[in-house]
């Protein structure tokens, strides 16, 4: 099967076209046109990317299997966890969000829930203490801000 490279090649050609089209939208630089304007280098890239992607479509490599079904779901869970970690970092604070994120990741990778969340909690607290006291960088406390020592 050689779909991967072909599909990727088509996508990259689409990117090249969109990117190349983008160069026509640049405003004229102040001081008039020069021999190399802001659009010259991107246009070169457009041509090179389009040609090399075309090669991928014509001579694709054999496919690597994609993880469908269960493993695929696990991967999506992992990405969702990372996105939530980012979202909750400031409102929940570093320690709690790390507990949840690292705990969930450990658990989904095969640790028992208790051990997983314990790892998350310990990692969160240790890193927080190191950063706040040893390195003098403030990570957000969030919900736990009542613990703050001035």
């Amino acid at each position: 099967m050689t779909f991967n490279d072909r599909i990727f090649g088509v996508l990259m050609i689409a990117l090249a076209v969109a990117y190349g089209w983008g160069t026509t939208l640049f405003p004229e630089p102040f001081g008039g046109a020069e021999s190399v304007g802001p659009e010259t280098f991107p246009r070169l890239l457009t041509v090179v990317l389009a040609l090399s992607s075309l090669y991928l479509i014509v001579r694709p490599d054999p496919d690597n299997a994609w993880p469908w079904s269960r493993t695929g779901v696990e991967l999506i869970i992992a990405v969702v966890v990372l996105v939530f970690y980012t979202m909750l970092l400031q409102p929940l604070g570093f320690i709690l969000s790390t507990l949840l994120a690292v705990g969930t990741l450990c658990w989904r990778m095969g640790a028992t829930p208790v051990k997983a969340y314990l790892t998350g909690a310990v990692a969160g607290i240790v890193v927080f203490l190191i950063f706040n006291f040893a390195l003098d960088l403030s990570l957000p406390l969030g919900l736990l801000s009542f613990l703050e020592v001035s």
Partner: protein, 508 residues
């Protein structure tokens, strides 16, 4: 001799107590990173960069620490090759061949000690080579004009895959993607490009975020996919009984391997894996039928191990003198230099002489430290091998988050990092190499600047790009770099595969 004076100054920098302390810390962390499963040298150095920033280290201290990490990771990588027959990275593949049989015969400690000594010799030779060669190359590079630099960057991309690379076209695609990302932001004429009016994009995409995302986050996803969460069984190492005679016996092999490795490291397109491969094959040829290679010959450990470390120090030569890295890890070190506002290249040797020579001296000192660390502490590093990735990788991911967050204290960068991680996973699945993407991100601005200068000089005449003999030569080599893999690549790859018996992991 001028070089000697600089070197002595360099030792002055490197031996300052706090620099020495950070070198020791770096060497220790590096070995850890090399030994732990799922953390390659490039990945490890990348995660540590934001931390080095947030610590507010002086440029030379940060660079010394991370160079020590780089050297240490090369040491650490061999532990799993020898004990588990699993190469930590591609160059360590050849170490498996005789290292693992030695471990099976109950000589694991000897194998580890021999490889430590050989690594030391390899690095030492290569560092001396670096000291001799780098100033010459830097002087030569001063004659480069913008057109030559433009061609040189092309050469760097073209040879990045190495002549054993699988599909050079994929390197080209990857390089284009990286260069395109580099064009995002306000360019030097003040025009906004591809910012879509998003304020955070005005300054362009921070390559540190991209590097950490591409390496660390995609690694996590790969481990999840392979369900490789469980740890490896505990390994025990016998007591070390190594005499001076044994060490003397491997010296010739180490020296040969180190010299070869250094040459392979300096040349574009060869790289550490070819260095260790040639090192091993040469050992087999030289020793001939007197050896028992493949069945636990100590010389079969020493040769490739010295070659591997020689190549990794050799790879610093083009990075320091030309600003053009030849491997993933040196690309990451280049990222560090650029973010420290040091322009790598020939001028660095005059403008930032203290930093360059400090780092070179630190390499020498780091190697002594590593040798001293490695022989007594090998037991600790061996224990680390059995840390289950299911705990380790989430924590590494968390540290990556903390590092990126601490650069700007905004979560916007973290979303970016996750997006890069997913993209990195997809690209790796498609066997699109990630290093050219990163190199594109790093070199994009310089490449465009040089193109612009060249065009300004010639008043818009494109032929200036290949007008001089030097530039033309670089173009020819770049072309060869793309064509040769199709001709000799399959042959060499098959040979390396036959001799190792396995495909080996994907190197990055």
């Amino acid at each position: 001799m001028e070089t000697l004076g600089y070197l002595i100054d360099g030792f002055g920098v490197a031996l300052a107590p706090h620099n020495l302390m950070f070198a020791l810390l770096g060497a220790f962390l590096g070995t850890l990173i090399g030994a732990l499963p799922g953390l390659g040298p490039a990945n490890g150095v990348a995660i540590l960069i934001p931390l080095a920033f947030t610590l507010g280290l002086a440029p030379e201290t940060a660079l010394i620490m991370l160079t020590a990490v780089y050297a240490g990771a090369m040491y650490g990588g061999r532990i799993s090759s020898i004990l588990l027959n699993i190469p930590g990275d591609e160059p360590a593949m050849m170490t498996c061949l005789d290292g693992y049989p030695m471990a099976q015969q109950g000589k694991a400690a000897e194998a580890l000690a021999i490889s430590a000594v050989a690594s030391f010799m390899g690095s030492l030779i290569a560092t001396i080579g670096l000291i001799l060669l780098a100033p010459i190359l830097a002087d030569f590079a001063l004659t480069f004009g913008p057109a030559e630099y433009f061609a040189l960057f092309l050469l760097a991309f073209a040879t990045l895959g190495g002549i054993t690379g699988k599909n050079p076209m994929k390197t080209v695609v990857a390089a284009c993607i990286g260069l395109m990302i580099a064009t995002v932001g306000i360019d030097n004429t003040g025009v906004q490009r591809y910012t879509f009016g998003v304020l955070e994009l005005y300054e362009g995409v921070d390559f540190i975020i991209a590097i950490v995302g591409l390496f660390a986050i995609s690694e996590l996803l790969f481990f999840i996919e392979e369900k490789a969460g469980g740890g490896k069984q505990k390994m025990s190492v016998n007591k070390l009984t190594l005499s001076w005679k044994d060490i003397r016996a491997i010296m010739p092999s180490s020296i040969r391997g180190g010299v070869l490795g250094f040459i392979a490291g300096v040349l574009p397109g060869a790289g550490a894996s070819l260095g260790s491969f040639i090192g091993y094959t040469l050992e087999k040829k030289v020793v001939g039928s007197k050896g028992y290679f493949g069945k636990g010959d100590p010389r079969g450990v020493a040769g490739p191990e010295a070659g591997n470390n020689g190549a990794s120090s050799g790879a610093l030569v083009p990075m320091l003198t030309l600003g053009v890295p030849g491997s993933g890890t040196t690309a990451v070190l280049l990222a560090l230099l650029i973010s420290l506002n040091i322009t790598p290249g020939p001028l660095m040797f005059t403008q930032n002489a203290d930093i360059v020579w400090g780092v070179i001296a630190a390499l020498l000192i780091g190697n002594f430290l590593l040798l001293v660390l490695n022989i007594p502490l090998v037991g600790i590093f061996v224990k680390l091998l059995s840390v289950p990735p299911m705990y380790l990788l989430p924590i590494v991911t968390m540290i990556a988050f903390v590092g990126i967050y601490s650069i700007s204290n905004t979560t916007f960068d973290l979303y970016f990092m996750v997006a890069f991680g997913v993209a990195g996973y997809v690209l790796r699945k498609l066997e699109i190499p990630l290093v050219p993407v990163i190199l594109g991100l790093l070199l994009g601005p310089e490449m465009e600047k040089n193109l612009r200068h060249a065009m300004d000089i010639s008043d818009g005449d494109w032929t200036i790009l290949w007008d001089s003999g030097l530039a033309l030569g670089l173009w020819v080599f770049a072309g060869l770099g793309l064509i040769l893999p199709y001709i000799v690549g399959p042959l060499l790859r098959r040979r390396m595969q036959v001799s190792t018996g396995t495909g080996g992991p994907e190197g990055d």
